[in-house]
């Protein structure tokens, strides 16, 4: 559970110019491009590896994920590398297949919240006034809930299904993007190129699309990269509570929950948990390095 709720923008966390210049030279190391940073590299490799697993799971997995063929609760051995679960299914196969669910869903829901959030946020920032107030008050409303409690309510209200859990996570996560893009648009709106575009007769929407989009895209993508990890955690958390993926679906959170039923067979819950951890950690490595590339003020807006 990380902080999914951004700080208020006026909380004084922005760094004064002299503070930035005064940063120790050694700290500049962090400003190298991500492919030259070991952590980001490691993260990238792990993410790639999981993507490969997700694509080739049917080829890589020794068994079908829901095939109840083995003796239940066998400890890891050369036959069943991750052991078997309480129904005699191969845990390794289920973990591998789990990637086919968690990765695309995480990408999907981050993309959806990013699009919804940044469009609404840009509109709010660009047009201001009542539109701004309306959109941002709704965002405030969402921020006034701890993420998982709102997601819990949404998932329970719509019914315990993976689809609804995804919707619930989107409902919870779009406001971060709205707030960030609004801030970026506000900062850029007064800049010279936007003013000149306006003077040249460009319409509001066109200015937003042509002039502002490239300027806000970078930070938004960084936030998205950082958010994928959160999305995976939140979604698996809902599944763990029984409000997301339903059995027998091989989903990591649901598998940990099955493992929790039998502590003595630690492998049932251990390996899916490790899968979640590695995926989230890898995305966070990458996102973290990307954030360091942004200018410090923007980086502060994407707090973590």
């Amino acid at each position: 559970m990380s902080l999914s709720d951004p700080l208020p923008l006026d909380s004084g966390l922005d760094v004064s110019a002299e503070g930035v210049d005064a940063l120790d030279r050694r700290d500049r190391a962090a400003l190298r491009p991500p492919w030259r940073q070991p952590l980001a590299l490691v993260g990238g490799v792990i993410v790639l590896a999981w993507i490969v697993v997700a694509i080739f799971a049917p080829e890589l997995a020794p068994h079908a994920p829901n095939d109840q063929f083995a003796t239940p609760q066998l400890p890891p051995s050369h036959l069943y590398v991750f052991g078997t679960d309480e129904l005699g299914r191969d845990v390794l196969s289920r973990v591998l297949y789990g990637a086919r669910l968690s990765l695309p869903l995480a990408a999907l829901l981050v993309a959806a919240s990013m699009v919804i959030g940044s469009v609404l946020g840009s509109i709010a920032g660009f047009f201001g006034g009542i539109v701004d107030a309306a959109i941002m008050r709704v965002a405030d409303l969402v921020f006034a809930f701890p993420g998982i409690i709102l997601a819990l309510a949404v998932a329970a209200a719509l019914g315990a299904q993976l689809r609804n859990a995804v919707l619930a996570v989107i409902v919870v996560s779009w406001p971060s993007y709205a707030r960030l893009s609004r801030g970026l648009v506000l900062a850029a709106r007064s800049s010279e190129y936007v003013t000149s575009a306006k003077l040249l007769g460009s319409s509001g929407w066109r200015t937003m699309w042509v002039e502002l989009r490239p300027n806000i895209a970078g930070p938004i993508f960084v936030l998205a990269a950082l958010d994928i990890g959160n999305a995976v955690l939140l979604l698996s958390g809902l599944s763990f509570l029984g409000l997301g993926a339903q059995p027998p679906t091989a989903e990591w959170g649901a598998m940990v929950s099955e493992g929790a039923q039998n502590f003595s067979s630690y492998w049932i819950g251990l390996f899916p948990g490790l899968a979640i951890l590695t995926v989230v950690l890898a995305f966070n490595f990458v996102g973290d390095a990307l954030r360091d590339m942004l200018d410090p003020r923007t980086a502060r807006m994407i707090r973590k």
Partner: protein, 526 residues
């Protein structure tokens, strides 16, 4: 059943007669008591209230069984025979339309006042008029006192199952004066006017061996010995019931931080040492049903499809899933109750037969959704696991089953509405009498959920009606067997399994028994 059981209930009465005079005869097992002993029981709470008039949850039964006395009760795990509690004996009259209960004059509430027929009548009327979950138990019963120690219950229709209903702690007898003083009423409008539930969730007003000390539906319930208990001195000075998930219960009992864990599955207790493990078949049954309403499905109404279903389920594999101690249920009545079919009549798995029936049905490889409530565990068996296993087995027969897990609320709605083509459900006994299983008859509660109306099978509907009115143990056994054979041959149900009721306790406990009604019998434990 013994010979002398000519009138069935006469047997109960003679059994009662034997123990009359032994105060609280039913719980005479443990008299030795050591002061200051604490009993810690772990249970995954299903608990709403301690007020008997509202109580209808498993954990509530365990609690109220300790706090309140009922007219009659069961001894240990024997649900085929009732034994005296507040009533030393009773008579069955007028073809089971009238029952007369004779109260034990020694019975005292925890405040020392005697338990009178007025208290009994008031408590039972309140139960009915509260219109809560357990109200149906005594629906249609006219309850009256006839003298300070006699209670008479009459009904328009015969109710031979009544003695088996009364051990339900929901029929526990409250101290009328005390509860009235805290807002209780037995009036017809009690459902809105009775305000005693909150008070009864902080205090008890009964005559049982324990009194309520603290009560929380989410963390723990604490009971202490009733110092004025009219029966043998309770074995424990304090009983603590903690809300703990099954997985943690296992660790607790292994580490010895509690005395009893009641929610473990057979798989979870496999290989446990240093503890007592008691198992018995649970009275909860899992069953499949195929909807008989052609508007819902053209497949499930096909008679050959139903047969393919019945032969296509590998019951042995389901039992393996449920763990040792589980049994296949031969009919809808669980094996531990009166009226159960003998095990030899249970359906047998035969893949070839199932495949040939499916071929005969002309449906090809039918696609169907199997609906079930997700996340619900019965005696350590989850619907999800069971459904996954059934899906795999029916796949081998040639049926394309997709699982349709739904949250219990949603699932219950489609189930109640009779909209599920193929459903996997469970029936837990409301009371341990075969009459509770008449709900499966065509046109009755569960029958309608399976789209099965009385006009679909008038002969079985008539048979069910007759079964409800038959009295006498032997006659009831016979007619309920007949009823279940008819269900098995023509009905929409495939009775699957009764999971195992497991209770694990520390070695030092005496009289530890798995109890399908209230987990463990606090009154028997030593």
């Amino acid at each position: 059943m013994k010979k002398q059981a000519a009138g069935g209930l006469a047997a109960l009465m003679s059994a009662s007669a034997l123990v009359v005079g032994m105060a609280g005869g039913a719980h005479a097992a443990t008299t030795r008591a050591s002061a200051g002993r604490t009993l810690v029981i772990d249970n995954s709470f299903e608990l709403v209230t301690a007020d008997p008039g509202h109580m209808f949850e498993p954990t509530g039964e365990l609690v109220d069984n300790g706090l309140y006395d009922t007219l009659v009760t069961f001894n240990g795990g024997n649900f085929k025979q009732v034994v005296p509690d507040l009533a030393t004996s009773f008579q069955t009259l007028d073809n089971a339309k009238k029952f007369v209960f004779h109260l034990n004059p020694k019975a005292r509430f925890s405040d020392g006042t005697p338990v009178t027929s007025a208290d009994v009548v008031w408590s039972l009327k309140r139960l009915v008029n509260l219109k809560g979950n357990p109200s149906f138990l005594l629906a249609g019963e006219n309850i009256a006192a006839s003298g300070p120690e006699t209670v008479v219950m009459t009904s328009a229709a015969p109710n031979p199952g009544l003695p088996y209903i009364l051990p339900n702690p929901a029929t526990g007898v409250l101290n009328e004066k005390v509860v009235k003083a805290h807002g209780g009423t037995d009036a017809a409008n009690a459902s809105t006017k009775d305000k005693a539930e909150n008070w009864l969730n902080q205090h008890s007003a009964g005559s049982g061996p324990y009194v309520l000390k603290s009560f929380s539906t989410t963390s723990q319930v604490v009971m202490t010995a009733n110092p004025r208990y009219w029966g043998p001195k309770p074995a424990y000075s304090t009983v603590v019931l903690r809300n703990v998930t099954a997985a943690v219960q296992k660790l607790d009992v292994q580490r010895g931080v509690n005395e009893i864990s009641v929610d473990l599955s057979p798989a979870q207790v496999t290989g446990m040492t240093g503890v007592q493990v008691k198992k018995g078949p649970s009275p909860n049954i899992f069953f499949l049903f195929a909807n008989q309403n052609p508007k819902i499905s053209k497949v499930t109404t096909n008679k050959d499809f139903e047969l393919a279903l019945r032969y296509g389920v590998d019951y042995g594999s389901l039992l393996q899933l449920a763990g040792s101690g589980a049994v296949q249920t031969p009919g809808v009545v669980p094996t531990v109750f009166l009226g159960a079919l003998p095990a030899s009549e249970a359906a047998k798995f035969d893949l070839k037969k199932a495949q040939s029936y499916l071929a005969k049905s002309g449906l090809g490889h039918p696609s169907l959704q199997l609906t079930y409530p997700t996340g619900i565990t019965v005696n350590g068996v989850t619907f999800d696991d069971l459904a996954a296993r059934v899906q795999q087995e029916l796949d081998a027969v040639g049926m394309k089953i997709t699982l349709q897990p739904q949250s219990i609320q949603v699932a219950l709605q489609t189930y109640r509405g009779g909209q599920e083509a193929l459903g996997l459900w469970e029936w837990g006994p409301d009371y341990p009498d075969p009459s509770d299983y008449l709900v499966f008859a065509p046109g009755n509660l569960v029958g309608l959920r399976a789209g099965w109306t009385a006009s679909d099978a008038p002969a079985i509907a008539t048979l069910a009606k007759k079964a409800s009115e038959t009295t006498g143990i032997a006659a009831r056994q016979a007619i309920f067997e007949k009823y279940q054979r008819a269900l098995n041959s023509y009905g929409p149900y495939v009775p699957l399994i009764q999971p195992a009721q497991v209770v694990v306790g520390t070695k030092s406990l005496k009289n530890l028994q798995a109890n399908g009604l209230w987990f463990v019998d606090l009154r028997n434990l030593g």
